[in-house]
């Protein structure tokens, strides 16, 4: 084969003649290969160093929902997972139709008119939304509500640190967006106001009044949302949002130590051409059969190079497929039921926790499946004690809000049974008072 490849010497090294000798690798100190069995045994020994089998009351934007078995079965079809980005539409109708259906589900769920094929995660989706608002308005002031996930806020700032964008952060008041303060900053220079519902503290809000103020000032409203909550809560469109984004992990994607996840974005149709990322549209072939293609590609990097709307050229297609299958299995009734049961369990948890001496459940705003609790002690200390009993009690808010060392953010999904919740409440009481 070497000879047929034009290698006269018949030696493998001749293939690499183009690499000058002085530039060859100085070292390549990699361990020798091992069998599947050996590698699996080794990796399991590493995995077993993780503390698993915890009962999670930790959320913070990433939730321990049940994943229907059909999702894993279907995404294991290698026709899906070993394909590339669908550049050749005739050989990729499966991926393309699935993306179109995913875009449709995101639009239906959020009430928006156009979605793309997905982005990396909730944080990068929010960053892309900010850049989009700046392109649309030609302005560079961005107001961030203090209820937006601190992780997202940090990401947006990191990405834009080399650009001249003026950020204003407005802390929440009584758990919800602080209207008086926001009013002071929304003006003719404002590109966008970023809000989140439910917010990081779990509070639900109705941001309709804020979108009206934004629009009066010629600014856009960006609403980051938790998709499962939309089985019940007012949609970003109903609140007047121009762009909505979110983390899609809760739609059938495993927690998997932070990824891969799914960023989604939904916009009004008038902004479709300013939206980043892949978009699939409907068309037909010469005999009128319906087909799907990547479209509006003149926005994209492989054509526009440095003038593209974004540098993103992939998406999280397989994660979007998971989300689509999740939404298809649950359907309208299933998602509604899931939202209800999550909230019911959270409300039940609240009622159990507030019976404990010294524990105060924050009640200034209604909540969905996550809420803030004030403890009589440092939250980290309490979390440590409950971990010993196999319970991850929640997220310590002091991690991102230094004045909130005694506050715990508690999330409850449909997977937490009454028994789990009772055990949690008992363990918390025990940790505080025994």
């Amino acid at each position: 084969m070497l000879k047929a490849a034009g290698i006269k010497s018949g030696r493998m090294d001749e293939l690499f003649m183009g690499i000058p000798h002085g530039l060859r690798a100085r070292s390549f100190d990699i361990p020798e290969g091992r069998s599947e069995f050996d590698v699996e045994r080794y990796l399991k020994s590493l995995g077993n160093k993780n503390l698993t089998d915890l009962v999670y009351f930790v959320g913070g934007g990433f939730y321990d929902h049940y994943i229907p078995a059909a999702i894993d079965a279907l995404v294991s079809r290698s026709e899906f997972y070993t394909a590339y980005t669908p550049y050749q539409p005739e050989a990729s109708q499966g991926t393309l139709q699935a993306i179109y259906e995913y875009q449709s589900c995101i639009c239906r769920l959020t009430g928006m008119e156009v979605s793309n094929a997905s982005l990396y995660d909730g944080g990068t989706a929010l960053y892309e939304a900010v850049m989009m608002a700046i392109r649309i308005t030609g302005r560079n002031k961005v107001i961030m509500d203090g209820g937006v996930s601190p992780i997202y806020r940090k990401m947006v700032r990191s990405y834009t640190s080399n650009l001249s964008i003026a950020f204003v952060e407005v802390p929440v008041s009584h758990g919800q967006s602080n209207r008086n303060e926001l009013d002071k900053y929304i003006d003719g220079e404002t590109a966008a106001v970023i809000l989140q519902n439910p917010n990081f503290f779990g509070a639900i809000d109705d941001h309709t009044d804020i979108s009206e103020k934004c629009h009066k000032a010629g600014a856009l409203m960006i609403e980051s949302v938790y998709p499962v909550s939309l089985g019940m809560l007012k949609t970003p469109r109903e609140m007047g949002a121009d762009i909505t984004t979110g983390e899609g992990q809760s739609l059938g994607i495993p927690l998997s130590f932070g990824g891969p996840y799914l960023g989604f974005i939904g916009v009004l149709k008038q902004y479709a051409r300013k939206m980043p990322g892949r978009i699939v549209g409907v068309t037909e072939d010469s005999v009128g059969r319906r087909g799907f293609v990547l479209t509006l590609q003149t926005r994209e990097q492989h054509i526009r190079r440095e003038k593209a709307t974004s540098n993103i050229c992939s998406n999280q297609a397989l994660c979007a497929l998971r989300a689509l299958i999740f939404m298809s299995l649950l359907g309208n009734e299933g998602l509604k039921g899931l939202a209800e049961i999550c909230r019911d369990k959270a409300e039940f948890t609240k009622s159990r926790l507030e019976g404990i001496k010294g524990v105060e459940v924050m009640k200034s705003a209604p909540t969905f499946n996550e809420f803030t609790v004030k403890l009589p002690k440092d939250a980290n200390e309490v979390i440590g004690k409950l971990l010993d009993k196999g319970i991850a009690a929640g997220f310590p808010l002091g991690r991102y809000y230094p004045e909130m060392d005694n506050y715990l953010l508690v999330a409850v999904t449909e997977k937490r049974t009454k028994h789990d919740i009772t055990r949690f409440a008992d363990a918390l009481e025990d940790a505080l008072w025994n």
Binding site: A5, Y81, T82, Y100, G123, L233, A272, G291, Q301, G331
Partner: protein, 481 residues
């Protein structure tokens, strides 16, 4: 095929909620509730399963078809990697778990995987430190350019431009522009490599860095790469290595030894993690010592006692570019792949990838114009210019290949070759597969001579024929509402 919404029927669902073992909560005030239904499709589980199984059958994937898509490294992904990614001891871990009590003691195994993978990637590329956070190649590029910006800002350098060869990937200029830089394109010469005179002209004290793919998109190793890096460093600028083509040089050459300061790798290319129909991938970034302090937050650090923790206190870091530690399960797959293959296995990857590319190139020489006819590394570009004179363009050859059960190579890229067809067979294909592909390519070259008109009808075997892309852009039917 019908859309899932077209087979939906009110009241159906394919999911059973867990038993309600708590009382119903009082409902929320109406102003917080959505009006009306979500409109999500309503089907039984078997209907959902059949729908998606049938959709999958309309796709070409590496498991079903030869997929010589240039620049994309569509190699076989060992099934073992999927098994590893699904191990519950990794897949069930909440990303905030390390933050619950100090020190990440609850997730030592997951952190050790990241730490070990970073070290292996550093050795493979000759760099000093890696971050696993970027979630795709383009994301790695953006991270890399942000690192450049942080470095120059810290040094007090005022830099405006990033230089990119005309053969570079389209993501390079897009990433650099989005990070706030202006782009200067540097021409390649007739041999397909960077023109040194052009480079010297473009370089100045305002240059932040050069982004380059090596071997380049023509599959050619830049012979003067050391001189190039000396020139770039001479003006205080940095060298960025686009690792899309790393599959060509494993164990043969390392970007770190060639003078590169920043490199991104595509784990979904070289390190066999599947492409997923367009993601999730992973684009980890490696740097030399002088850039380490700018890497994204957080970093996995090993303590003296052998335990691992996440370091968040990094004052010079570019900050958060990912929510957590990157596309973790993809990282786990790449780690398993490197352990499985080991040193010799990785070297063989590149040897066989390069051999396969040269084999096809040599056999197609007589039938297609080849702009750089000498040896290549893992991929090469042919031109359909000869065929185009008869009216058969690169896209027509691509569509004809689909009918013959082969996913087409990349077409019309790189931009500096007319009617480009970019072929990357990868190392995992057998000689029999390559021979079949060669025979088909020769048959198509002959058909282009004899019956060029026939190409217009391809593809004929797919669920749809050639699609009207103009209509899609005009109609903008982007969602079924």
């Amino acid at each position: 095929m019908e859309l899932i919404f077209e087979i939906s029927k009110k009241g159906k669902k394919g999911f059973s909620l867990p038993t309600r073992d708590v009382p119903e909560a009082s409902s929320l005030p109406g102003k917080y509730l959505r009006n009306g239904d979500t409109g999500l499709p309503e089907l039984s589980e078997p209907e959902v399963v059949r729908h998606f199984t049938n959709l999958s059958r309309m796709n070409f994937g590496v498991d079903s078809h030869f997929y010589p898509l240039g620049s994309c490294t569509m190699k076989y992904n060992p099934k073992f990697l999927e098994k590893i990614a699904q191990l519950e001891c990794f897949s069930s871990v909440h990303p905030l778990q390390p933050q619950l009590i100090k020190g990440g003691i609850l997730t030592q195994g997951s952190l050790e995987v990241i730490y070990n993978l970073e070290n292996l990637l550093s050795e493979i590329t000759g760099m000093d430190a890696f971050t696993t956070q970027p979630m795709a190649g383009a994301h790695g590029e953006l991270t890399g350019v942000m690192l450049m910006a942080a470095y120059h800002r810290h040094k007090g350098n005022k830099r405006k431009y990033i230089l990119i060869p005309d053969s570079g990937h389209g993501t390079n200029p897009a990433s650099a522009a989005i990070a706030g830089y202006e782009i200067k394109t540097v021409k390649s010469n007739e041999k397909g490599v960077l023109d040194m005179i052009e480079l010297k002209k473009a370089l100045s004290e305002e240059t932040a860095g050069l982004m380059i793919t090596c071997p380049n998109t023509l599959g050619i190793f830049e012979p003067a790469i050391k001189e190039i890096s000396d020139l770039v460093h001479g003006v205080g600028a940095l060298m960025y290595y686009d690792g899309a083509n790393m599959n060509a040089i494993l164990g043969k050459a390392r970007p770190g030894d060639l003078g590169f300061d920043i490199v991104h790798l595509n784990l979904h290319k070289t390190f066999a993690t599947p492409h997923g129909g367009g993601g999730p991938g992973a684009g980890p970034v490696g740097v030399k010592k002088e850039l380490e302090e700018f890497l994204p937050t957080s970093r996995v650090v090993k303590r003296k006692d052998g335990t691992f923790f996440l370091e968040y206190d990094k004052p010079l870091s570019i900050g958060y570019i990912s929510q957590f530690y990157g596309n973790y399960s993809v990282l786990l797959k790449a780690y398993a792949y490197i352990l499985l293959l080991g040193k010799e296995g990785l070297i063989e990857v590149s040897e066989n990838a390069v051999l396969n590319a040269n084999y096809i190139k040599a056999r197609l020489k007589a039938h297609y114009e080849i702009p750089c006819p000498d040896g290549c590394l893992h991929e090469f570009v042919i031109s359909a210019r000869k065929q185009a004179e008869k009216g058969v363009h690169a896209i027509d050859i691509a569509k004809a290949l689909i009918d013959r059960g082969i996913h087409p190579p990349t077409v019309y890229f790189p931009l500096n070759v007319k009617e480009a067809i970019m072929i990357e067979p990868t190392e995992t294909e057998s000689r029999e597969t390559l021979d079949r592909f060669i025979a088909i390519m020769i048959e198509l070259a002959e058909l282009a001579e004899k019956d060029p008109e026939s190409f217009k009808a391809f593809p004929r075997t797919t669920p749809v024929g050639r699609l009207d892309e103009v209509k899609a852009a005009k109609d903008m039917d982007l969602a079924y509402l």
